[in-house]
């Protein structure tokens, strides 16, 4: 490795969905790419076995991290037990305990594959409703890239259904939605008379064989690992890029960035697991290390010419940290619902994604969680001290009647919600841990009052007993805002092409660019933005 020349047209830091899609797009254009990731490569079969071998306590409480072994040179968050890699502070610290995976393929190894487009108004929140911020681009600017991402990932969606509100489309989804299981079917029927439209979630999951991957077989383990690869993961795009000549280096932890007189990026340096340093050079650099690690690296890599951090002349790097603060509810329904048929996230209530109320409080998404209840049912029944037939009957009853629902809230960009480098905690390489201070704000708190009423209305309509609702806000791993997009270099980090205002040849292809969080999962939007950034890079290369 030491003698190998580490250089390419484009160096991409982070082999998650954004970095891998950008690498693939560039590789297809004949551009040489070096794709680095701080974490290891994973073997799907081993991760599946790691999950199967995980204690039932972890399974019952939705532990998505433990199957992915933490490596000391690239720690990611674990919560069973909590490893405090991500330090969270502030009034809503609970709501920023994000789950991220480091390694080739990134956090889409354990996502639910919900692949929504944002609504046109999500891109112009400030100009339409007078709150939050506008993107530097419109929905129409992103529409072709949304479609390109949907095709590459393999997204199924409710073709032919008229769902209001919906993002306008020029092409149908590449695949039709998967059919609901009994739980989603009954939930939809029960909430309909209450005025809630429960509709199919667009999913990055095969509803038919697609792109050499199999059709979903309903293994119901999307999070934390699809055992058969019917669900899209960033690893597929990374592997395709690799087949086209992209060089992938795993276990490469970038820690410093060199700039020249024009503040162009000249080189980056990474540590290998033995803390040997390696230097990589390129014409153009992309950081696609997710919404937490990207601002962390930019701050860490501060140099003489950029004393507040790379790309940070605006002081906005690490600010405006957003997500979708959630409220979770679980209960036993009066009738059997039988969660667990199909994928873990099939449908949701989207009536409240947009409307004039957004000038006052958050838009929301209400969802039915279709995760099988059998682990939770078993552990609960055992804790009751039952034996024999009563034990079996109680397990079956709880597996049939257990219901999980949730509300996710839109948050506004707030510069005080800020990621900094920890002054006290460092990892094995001596790199500071990220530290986030988080307050969901009045905009969310006001919405949460009615959100709790929505949840209670639904629980009551289902004859719910043993109703439990989280008294705090929960995280949703939809990490946005930390390298925020805008037209003004004084108050934003990147432009509408994700190009850093401060560095002509640096792109930050992550959800951190998203200027408003909307209500729905952020992944498809960040994927589309990454493809758009790749387009800008291709254009640069052509004109170079």
């Amino acid at each position: 490795m030491a003698n190998e020349k580490l250089s390419a047209d484009v160096v991409i830091v982070g082999a998650g969905i954004c970095g891998s899609l950008a690498a693939l797009e560039l590789a297809r254009a004949g551009i040489s790419v070096l794709l680095l990731d701080a974490g290891p490569r994973y073997d799907r079969a081993q991760i599946v076995e790691n999950w199967r071998g995980m204690p039932p306590h972890n399974k019952a409480f939705y532990d998505y991290a433990t199957p992915y072994p933490v490596v000391p040179w690239a720690p990611h968050t674990t919560f069973f037990p909590e490893n405090n890699y991500l330090i969270v502070k502030g009034p809503d610290a609970t709501a920023y305990k994000q789950g991220i995976i480091k390694g080739v393929g990134g956090t889409t190894w354990h996502w639910a594959a919900s692949s929504w487009r944002y609504l046109p108004n999500d891109f112009r929140l400030k100009s339409t409703y007078g709150v939050g911020r506008d993107y530097a681009i419109t929905y129409d600017d992103l529409e072709p890239y949304y479609y390109a991402a949907e095709v590459e990932m393999g997204v199924n969606g409710p073709n032919g259904m008229d769902i209001v509100p919906s993002a306008p489309r020029k092409n149908p989804w590449p695949m039709d939605s998967m059919p609901y299981g009994y739980g989603d079917r009954r939930f939809t029927e029960i909430v309909k008379p209450l005025g809630y439209d429960n509709t199919p979630v667009p999913q990055g999951r095969n509803s038919r064989p697609y792109d050499t991957r199999p059709q979903c077989c309903g293994n119901n383990n999307c999070m934390p690992i699809c055992p058969i690869g019917a669900m899209y993961h960033g690893i597929y795009s990374a592997q395709k890029a690799e087949a086209l000549g992209t060089k992938i280096i795993e276990n490469a932890v970038v820690y410093s960035i060199e700039t020249d007189d024009k503040n162009r990026i000249v080189a980056m340096n990474y540590y290998d697991p033995d803390k040997q340093s390696h230097r990589v050079t390129a014409k153009t650099f992309v950081i696609a290390a997710n919404g937490i690690e990207t601002p962390k690296l930019l701050l860490l890599a501060a140099n003489d010419k950029n004393p507040n951090g790379i790309a940070n002349s605006s002081d906005q790097v690490g600010r405006n940290m957003m997500d979708h603060p959630g409220i979770g509810m679980s209960f036993q329904s009066a009738e059997p619902i039988w969660a667990g048929g199909g994928s873990v996230q099939m449908s949701s209530i989207t009536n409240f994604r947009d409307g004039p109320f957004r000038s006052e409080h958050s838009a929301i998404q209400i969802g039915y969680n279709n995760t099988a209840q059998n682990s939770r049912a078993g552990m609960k029944a055992l804790s009751m001290g039952l034996v024999g037939k009563k034990l079996d009957e109680e397990i079956r009853r709880r597996a049939a009647h257990g219901v999980d629902i949730y509300v996710n809230h839109e948050t506004l960009a707030n510069p005080d919600n800020r990621l900094v480098l920890s002054k006290t905690q460092k990892d094995a390489l001596g790199i500071p841990h990220p530290e986030v201070t988080y307050d969901v704000g009045e905009y969310v708190r006001q919405a949460a009052v009615s959100s709790r009423e929505h949840l209670m209305t639904i629980a009551n309509a289902m004859g719910g007993t043993e109703i439990e609702m989280t008294p705090y806000f929960t995280p949703n791993n939809h990490i946005t805002g930390g390298t925020i997009m805008g037209n003004d270099p004084k108050d934003s980090v990147v432009d509408g092409w994700l190009r850093a205002h401060d560095h002509e040849n640096l792109f930050l292809a992550t959800g951190g660019a998203m200027a408003a969080a909307g209500t729905v999962n952020s992944t498809l939007t960040m994927a589309a933005l990454a493809l758009r950034a790749a387009d800008a890079i291709k254009r640069d290369m052509k004109h170079a």
């Binding site: 059998n374 055992l382 397990i395």
Partner: protein
């Protein structure tokens, strides 16, 4: 915890099995309890008692062997308590676990009984996140709903199986 330790803790052992893959996980360093193979009669006594304790005859003996070793290692009094329980059911004194459980009201031996049941149902003998897993898909708690709800990571019979109407809750599958 280092990757190496974690991975070796999760080292996989494949049990023989025809229709399903059996798996178990052993600690990186075999504990004395796991190293010592239980005497055949003690183990068969445990399995035999477990059939009554769980109400299910189709118990995997390899899993049983590991559970017996783990329960013995966890509690020095386990083998004595098990012997007392076996004595209680000798000669058909209790036809089923319900009868035995009722007879154990207020008796500390009930904890041993529930511990055995919990081991077979949950596949672990310890609480919480550090537990060693001896059984997953053969853990009995996944069986009462297995006709409708998949054991996660496994599948029934291919795509779209889930559109079928579920069986009644009252219709307990045989296992």
């Amino acid at each position: 915890m280092s990757e190496k330790t974690l991975m070796s803790r999760r080292r996989l052992l494949l049990n023989s099995g025809i229709s399903v893959i059996g798996l178990s996980l052993l600690p990186a360093i075999a504990s004395p309890a796991l190293a010592s193979v239980p005497a055949n009669d003690a183990l068969s006594g445990f399995i035999s008692f477990s059939r009554l304790a769980t109400g299910h005859n189709d118990l995997d003996e390899k899993i049983g062997s590991q559970l017996y070793a783990a329960l013995s290692a966890k509690d020095a009094a386990f083998t004595d308590n098990l012997r007392k329980l076996v004595d209680m059911v000798r000669g058909g004194a209790h036809a089923d676990v319900e009868s035995l459980d009722a007879a154990l009201t207020g008796n500390p031996l009930r904890d041993t009984l529930l511990g055995i049941i919990k081991a077979w149902y949950s596949g672990v003998v310890e609480e919480g996140t550090g537990a060693t897993v001896y059984a997953f898909e053969k853990a009995l708690m996944y069986q009462p709903a297995r006709d409708v709800v998949v054991i996660p990571t496994f599948a029934f019979n291919g795509p779209d199986y889930w559109v079928a109407e579920p069986n009644p809750v009252s219709q307990m599958p045989r296992f």
